[in-house]
């Protein structure tokens, strides 16, 4: 078994709503190994986006632990969390992913600049990863000149270019048509596996689960089910396709 890239232990995140405390994430524990691609699914309000925000070091948990590459988020001040986000985490968002005034290649290279790795080798690597994602002829295009699917692929390249321990994706297919959505998630999965990263994708679209290694299902802030065998995962994904 490969090393644990991400470990969540007894995680709780509470919010105050109209004077009452609500547990958006309620005592959740799981691990993700390097080279494993996990889908976090659940209905709206199930707590998956809150979970992702905590994993991305954008939100502090109320209690519990999140260890990324062995480093405990709870022990970090804001400066160290920013450093962790820069070095250990890759992130793609639903939309507005890219810096609009940087070209596709510059967007990818920006992660290297942030990490002080923007050299000639980094430039070659960014061109290679974009070529792998079918964007070799779009290196110098601005985001506005790219389709939604192309923008998502650039975001995936950016999320992986600096070899983070964990790659997080928040509804990466939300703004894509079905065909492009499958393409994007398939490519994402391939790169996570090839680069031996831990990938976590939040999605409400169960059809996308066919490319992941494990599905974690959340409801009311709790982790209610873990689908771990390929057969079960495919049944879940195909069931969604049939519906």
């Amino acid at each position: 078994m490969s090393s644990i890239a991400l470990e969540v232990k007894d995680l709780v995140k509470s919010f105050s709503l109209d004077g009452a405390m609500i547990n958006a994430v309620d005592n959740v524990s799981f691990q993700v190994h390097a080279g494993e691609f996990v889908a976090l699914v659940g209905p709206s309000g199930s707590g998956k986006t809150t979970m992702l925000s905590i994993l991305a070091a954008l939100l502090s948990p109320t209690s519990g632990q999140v260890l990324i590459d062995g480093q405990d988020l709870a022990q970090m001040n804001e400066k160290r969390r920013v450093k962790l986000r820069r070095e250990k985490i890759g992130f793609t968002f639903q939309s507005n992913n890219l810096i609009p005034f940087l070209t596709a290649q510059e967007n990818v290279e920006f992660m290297l600049r942030l990490n002080g790795q923007a050299d000639k080798a980094g430039r070659v690597r960014s061109a290679e990863i974009l070529a792998r994602l079918g964007l070799s002829d779009r290196l110098h295009n601005l985001p506005a000149q790219l389709s939604g699917g192309q923008q998502q692929r650039v975001a995936i390249a950016r999320a992986l270019i600096h070899n983070p321990a964990v790659v997080l994706a928040d509804e990466p297919t939300a703004s894509l048509d079905t065909e492009r959505a499958f393409q994007v998630v398939e490519t994402f999965a391939k790169l996570v596996h090839e680069n031996n990263r831990a990938g976590i994708m939040v999605t409400h679209d169960l059809r996308m689960c066919q490319y992941v290694d494990r599905v974690l299902q959340m409801q009311d802030g709790k982790l209610v089910r873990a689908v771990e065998t390929k057969k079960e995962i495919m049944e879940l994904a195909h069931g969604a396709i049939k519906h």
């Binding site: 986006t49 992702l52 925000s53 991305a56 954008l58 939100l59 400066k79 920013v82 450093k83 986000r85 820069r86 070095e87 985490i89 992130f91 968002f93 507005n96 992913n97 890219l98 810096i99 609009p100 005034f101 940087l102 510059e106 920006f110 992660m111 600049r113 942030l114 990490n115 002080g116 601005l142 950016r158 928040d170």
Partner: protein, 386 residues
């Protein structure tokens, strides 16, 4: 250091990739700059027109008649006061100055000038840049300010005719221009200098004054042996010379009738123009930051520090402001070339320099709110994850 490079990278890439938008803002700043510099240059020109002669005097103290409130026109000293002052220990020299005004009528268009009587070689007589000083006594010779030459075409060696009201009649006097001085405007008019006895004869005067041939100086310019002893000498002069009051050059300038009010007006105009500039630039950058909230959210979420985001905003504002001020400065200079010499416009003054520094500061000042806003953006909210 890495943060600064990153901030420069982001700021300049955005400006370059959105040239049109930023150039438009720079042009707005350029127009504000044109307006501010124009007001500053006019203010400098007006101030010069009023104070230039006094400001350029080779003297540290000015002696007035007691209780004249440092008002040159209201002061009229005894003829022998200058001699008394010269005998005071610590005084290097003292020159009486007689002020009036007249009109040169031998030019194509009559030209109003300040008529100053001064003694050649004494404080009050400016440095000659062309020709020579006039002879003393009642010599019908004059030294003119270069501004008179620029406006009228009069040159050294020319004979000019001036009109002067003597009692109730106009009389005309001819003077030979023997020399030229530079930068000697007084009371909004270029100046001609004549010997005191000549001044007494040709100055406009009332019927009552016509009976006297004795010129009474308005003020006396005092050059000190040790220019650093202004305060000591002021007290000593007042103690040793009767019926006088003494002021330094700055006090004298500030008491020129209308000077303080005029400068106050010009400075208020300049201040409000700068204030408008701050609000316009502040408004623009605030709108821009509001449009960029998701983008800043992404930058922070992927690991950009507040320093990078904040500095990028500052650099962008500085670059755009500097561009605008640069364009505005060039426009003002080109504009000034087309202005006639009658308009008091001095673009190279301290005031213009101060205005440029202030204009460069209004960008960051106006954008301060947007910079703070950018730094405070929470990625979670910006990305609508929270």
């Amino acid at each position: 250091m890495k943060n600064t490079f990153l901030a420069f990278y982001l700021a300049l890439k955005e400006v370059l990739r959105n040239r049109g938008r930023f150039l438009l803002v720079s042009m707005v700043i350029a127009l504000i700059t044109l307006l501010v510099l124009f007001i500053a240059a006019l203010g400098e020109g007006l101030a010069n027109g009023n104070r230039q002669y006094v400001a350029n005097l080779d003297a540290q103290l000015i002696v007035f008649l007691d209780k004249s409130d440092y008002n040159i026109s209201a002061s009229r000293l005894d003829t022998n006061t200058a001699r008394t002052i010269r005998r005071v220990d610590g005084v290097a020299d003292a020159g009486p100055i007689y002020t009036s005004n007249t009109e040169i009528v031998s030019t194509e268009k009559p030209l109003k000038v300040s008529l100053l009587g001064v003694e050649a070689g004494r404080p009050g007589m400016p440095v000659i840049i062309e020709g020579r000083e006039f002879r003393g006594g009642e010599a019908r010779e004059a030294v003119i300010d270069r501004n008179v030459a620029l406006r009228s075409g009069i040159k050294v060696g020319d004979v000019i005719e001036i009109r002067s009201t003597q009692g109730v009649d106009d009389q005309f006097f001819t003077l030979t221009v023997v020399g030229m001085v530079d930068g000697q405007s007084y009371f909004f008019a270029p100046t001609i200098f004549v010997p005191p006895a000549t001044w007494e004869q040709i100055r406009p005067q009332s019927e009552a004054d016509l009976n006297s041939d004795t010129p009474f100086p308005n003020i006396i310019a005092v050059k000190l042996a040790d220019p650093s002893q202004v305060e000591v000498m002021k007290t000593r002069l007042i103690d040793q010379v009767s019926k006088i009051e003494v002021a330094d050059i700055v006090t004298t300038i500030n008491n020129i009738p209308g000077y303080a009010a005029q400068q106050g007006t010009v400075q208020t105009q300049g201040f409000f123009t700068l204030l408008i500039g701050v609000l316009v630039i502040g408004g623009f950058f605030q709108i821009q930051i509001l449009q960029k909230v998701p983008q800043i959210g992404v930058l922070k979420a992927i690991g950009s520090s507040n320093g990078v985001v904040g500095w990028a905003a500052v650099i962008q504002i500085v670059v755009v402001t500097a561009m605008g001020v640069g364009i505005g400065g060039v426009l003002t200079y080109l504009f000034s070339l087309g202005l006639p010499p009658t308009i008091p416009f001095v673009f190279n003054g301290v005031r213009s320099f101060a205005a440029i520094i202030l204009l460069l500061l209004i960008g960051p000042l106006g954008g301060l709110v947007s910079i703070i806003y950018a730094v405070r953006i929470e990625p979670l909210k910006a990305l609508r994850l929270g």
